[in-house]
């Protein structure tokens, strides 16, 4: 496994997301330009991207992006993966050699399906549960190996460096996706390391975020009740797990999940109508441990689209814009104007109110 520091990541960051709600796929060139505009918000210690709809040919297989310190890690990982998965195809993740990016780890990707017999043995688990278990094991227990992403038809590309360089390095201009997330990192207390770069990915969740979660300590312990082990000690990881817990495991619709993560103040809840009052009150009472406190603006990608969410007191910047079926969300308006000079509408995100991009024909794109 990577040498995981038992130190929590914190710092300022730049985030940007672009999606076509129609599911039209487009090159990564735009997102690279967009994030590059916010160069000053990063410090070269980490950058990364998440792309959705990039593997149409493997649309219904788990695309596992792995980074390894050394070949032994690659072997160990393959060995371990094969116990659960049938690996349909695997290859090194293509990269360009550019001088800004140095001491790169081994980068490899697998396209895999969960073996039927495994599904039978662990009949009480969903397929996703199995994937999560495997990812957690690799990250926690296989020395020198780390899973960057594990969703279907999506992938996370990240590393140490300025995001625009990472983008070039991973040749993202050559990929096409309907949803792109990008992150430029400004860690204040860790020397950047590839695994620690954002986005953080689990299943088809990818999270980029700017801010610091003051409630991290309890969020992490709260998640532990439900079997999530936060090995990275990044807020991003916690946010991803919370979304996974609330939406996938507890089946909360996005808006309720957001009412948990960025709950309204009791005083606001009191002012609501009886039904909403009871709903929000009950949510807060049950999910107090999941409340994200402190300043954050976060972008969450998933197979169904993209969500932008600000903390309930709006302590971090987040701007959004629409132009036709395109949705843009970024830390700064400039990052949007760079790729969409004259959008139909531009607005600032409201604290606690999610900005939702819904993919209209998710399945269509899947087998396109």
């Amino acid at each position: 496994m990577f040498q995981l520091r038992d130190e929590k990541d914190m710092g300022g960051c730049a985030i940007s997301g672009i999606m076509s709600e129609e599911g039209t796929r487009f090159s990564g060139a735009d997102i690279i330009r967009s994030i590059a505009v916010m160069h000053e918000r990063s410090n070269g210690l980490g950058g990364g991207f998440a792309a959705y709809g990039v593997y149409p040919e493997h649309a219904d297989r788990y695309a596992l992006h792995i980074m390894c310190d050394h070949d032994r890690g690659v072997e160990a990982t393959r060995e371990y993966l094969e116990a659960t998965f049938r690996i349909v195809h695997d290859e090194p993740i293509p990269t360009r050699q550019i001088e800004e990016i140095r001491s790169r780890p081994i980068l490899h990707r697998y396209f895999a399906e969960v073996r039927p017999e495994i599904k039978e043995r662990f009949y009480d688990e969903t397929e996703e549960d199995m994937v999560v278990r495997v990812v957690m094991h690799v990250n926690a227990d296989i020395e020198g190996a780390f899973v960057m992403s594990s969703g279907k038809n999506m992938g996370v590309f990240k590393g140490v460096g300025y995001p625009e360089n990472i983008g070039t390095f991973f040749r993202l201009d050559e990929y096409e996706a309907h949803t792109w997330l990008a992150h430029g990192r400004f860690p204040t207390n860790t020397t950047g390391w590839w695994g620690g770069a954002h986005p953080f990915g689990l299943l088809d969740w990818a999270v980029v975020h700017n801010g610091e979660i003051s409630s991290y300590g309890i969020n992490r312990r709260y998640l532990a009740n439900f079997g999530y082990h936060c090995v990275l000690r990044t807020d991003t990881e916690v946010i991803a797990y919370l979304f996974d817990l609330l939406m996938r495991k507890h089946g909360l619709p996005l808006e309720l999940a957001c009412k948990v993560l960025a709950a309204r103040f009791w005083s606001q809840i009191e002012r609501g109508d009886p039904e909403s009052r009871e709903l929000e009150r009950t949510l807060r009472i049950i999910y107090g441990g999941a409340l994200l406190n402190g300043p954050f603006s976060v972008l969450v990608g998933h197979s169904g689209g993209m969500i932008g969410l600000n903390d309930r007191t709006k302590l971090r910047p987040m701007c959004a814009a629409r132009s036709g079926d395109m949705l843009y969300i970024a830390s700064e308006e400039a990052a949007i104007r760079e790729v969409c000079p004259s959008p139909d509408r531009v607005w600032m995100a409201e604290g606690g109110v999610p900005i939702v991009g819904k993919l209209r024909h998710a399945e269509a794109t899947a087998d396109a």
Binding site: E7, E212, L256, G288, N293, G294, T313
Partner: protein, 506 residues
């Protein structure tokens, strides 16, 4: 009785330059320390019976009285201190058990003083509670792991039937202090203050006096081994019911309210004959095992139609984590734990000073244990035992407590001077006594106001500390040990507490 070896604990000094012979001190001392000689027209003091409660010094209009610890020094001896020697003298004369009141006064490590809190700098903003909302509202009671809901015309409606919760405006409650051990005026003040502050007071095992009824929506009533004052009406009148298994000051020990404290009102409230000792057995004689506890919990839930949260109060002992877990699995909605420094109206000194473990470690162990077992949501944790300030409370919540019980702090707010003589029934401050001449010294209006002020002050401080940490809702601090760091603690202590040492970053 002639006590020829026992020397006074205190020396009362009267400054003749300032004493005006007004005799206020004479009228105020229930221990007859001060007396007036009409012949000499002179007020004088006899230190022998002084308990150091400062009543006289406090009311003296000229500040003529000062009270010092008796200077009579024994030959220096690290082991045989004056305290140990005096105790032996007392027992050699009385042949009895050493009695005392209030909490443990021995110099154990106080873990609240070995933990420090965090604050935001640069990387995230601290929040100003005077400008931004800052939420202390706390709900105590059983909570499900996840919500169930229906989609209804575009919106959602809750399907989950939430168990009754106690809503606290501030995560601080008044711990169990029975009417009998304290005066009715004190009881009323606690109940009123709780009602006014939107929190709860605990009846202790003294029953519920008629004068408390108006505030019973803010009362937690206790069912203790003596079952005093317990009947269906009593259980249903309250907001919640607490089964008292143990008390921090005297784990494993019962209670004893001496007959002279059982006057008419007390006897009516406790439902026992007037002028008889009120004895609480050490154990509940219908609880010899965890499954017995489960039966009592559900008996109470049945009687109260599953409308009242049931709390189980245990004293923090070595195996507290397992015991607490057992209580939760037995059906407790709240587990209250009372630690080594917990107070009492009367306890054997040696028990009080030597039995039980510090509440901080007990809390840390229990919170972690319940989370490991995935049952932390099933019950709220309330901790008690020596909470002295808002800082202690914030630290406890960060360790994992849902709320805190304060007893001694509340009494001090009402005027208690910690003389530790509660068991004598001669409380000069009108708190731990039933003597009408003394009880009227505590004007419930004044006491209620002082308690309210204390809670208000602490609430403000808690909000300031939360804001400093960049948190604006108490649930984001609860169990958030990232905001705690240890100072001067050993590796193993840090491990038990589940916190990092100061100096280690995020």
């Amino acid at each position: 009785m002639r006590k020829w070896l026992v020397q006074p604990d205190f020396v009362v000094e009267r400054d003749p330059e300032r004493c005006i012979q007004c005799q206020v001190c004479v009228r105020q001392c229930a221990n007859d320390v001060h007396s007036y000689d009409p012949e000499d027209e002179l007020v004088s003091s006899d230190s022998a019976t002084c308990v150091g409660c400062h009543r006289c010094a406090t009311l003296c209009p000229t500040g003529a009285i000062s009270i010092r610890e008796a200077e009579l020094e024994f030959h220096p001896n690290a082991n045989w201190t004056a305290w140990t020697i005096r105790n032996i003298y007392k027992q050699a004369e009385s042949g009895g058990v050493l009695l005392t009141g209030m909490g443990n006064d021995r110099p154990y490590v106080n873990y609240w003083d070995r933990m420090v809190l965090n604050a935001s700098q640069v990387t995230n903003p601290s929040i100003d509670p005077l400008r931004e909302p800052m939420e202390l509202v706390t709900y105590l009671g059983r909570k499900p792991d996840q919500i169930e809901f229906d989609r209804s015309n575009g919106g959602y409606s809750v399907k989950t039937e939430l168990a009754t919760q106690l809503e606290l405006q501030i995560p601080v409650m008044f711990s169990a202090m029975s009417y009998g051990s304290i005066s009715l005026n004190a009881s009323v003040a606690l109940a009123r203050a709780a009602a006014e502050a939107g929190t709860f007071a605990n009846s202790g095992e003294g029953g519920l006096h008629r004068d408390i009824y108006p505030y019973s929506k803010n009362m937690i009533v206790q069912v203790a081994s003596g079952r005093f004052g317990v009947d269906v009406e009593y259980l249903n009148r309250a907001a919640a019911v607490e089964i008292k298994i143990g008390q921090g000051a005297k784990p494993g020990i019962g209670g004893h309210l001496p007959a002279q404290k059982v006057d008419r009102a007390v006897s009516e409230t406790r439902m026992i004959p007037e002028g008889t000792d009120a004895l609480s057995p050490a154990p509940h004689h219908d609880i010899y095992s965890i499954e017995d506890l489960r039966q009592l919990i559900f008996a109470i839930k049945e009687v109260t139609h599953y409308e009242k949260p049931v709390s189980v109060k245990i004293s923090a002992v070595h195996n507290v984590a397992a015991i607490a877990s057992g209580c939760v699995r037995a059906g407790a909605d709240i587990v209250a734990m009372d630690g080594l420094l917990g107070g009492t109206g009367a306890a054997p000194t040696m028990i009080r000073n030597n039995v039980g473990i510090p509440i901080a470690v007990a809390l840390a162990a229990v919170d972690s244990r319940l989370r490991e077992e995935g049952i932390r949501n099933r019950a709220s944790l309330v901790v008690a035992g020596g909470f002295r300030s808002s800082a202690d409370i914030v630290k406890a919540i960060a360790l994992g407590a849902d709320a805190v019980y304060i007893g001694t702090g509340a009494l001090v707010a009402m005027g208690c001077h910690l003389c530790q003589k509660c068991y004598t029934g001669k409380c000069n401050w009108g708190i731990a006594t039933q003597d009408p001449y003394l009880t009227k010294r505590l004007n419930p209006d004044v006491a209620t106001r002082r308690l309210g002020n204390l809670l208000r002050g602490w609430a403000l401080e808690i909000k300031e500390m939360l804001g400093g940490m960049g948190i604006n809702a108490i649930e984001s601090l609860r169990g958030n040990r990232e905001h705690l760091r240890g100072v001067g603690l050993s590796e193993s202590e840090l491990e038990v507490l589940g916190i990092k040492p100061a100096g280690v970053g995020a």
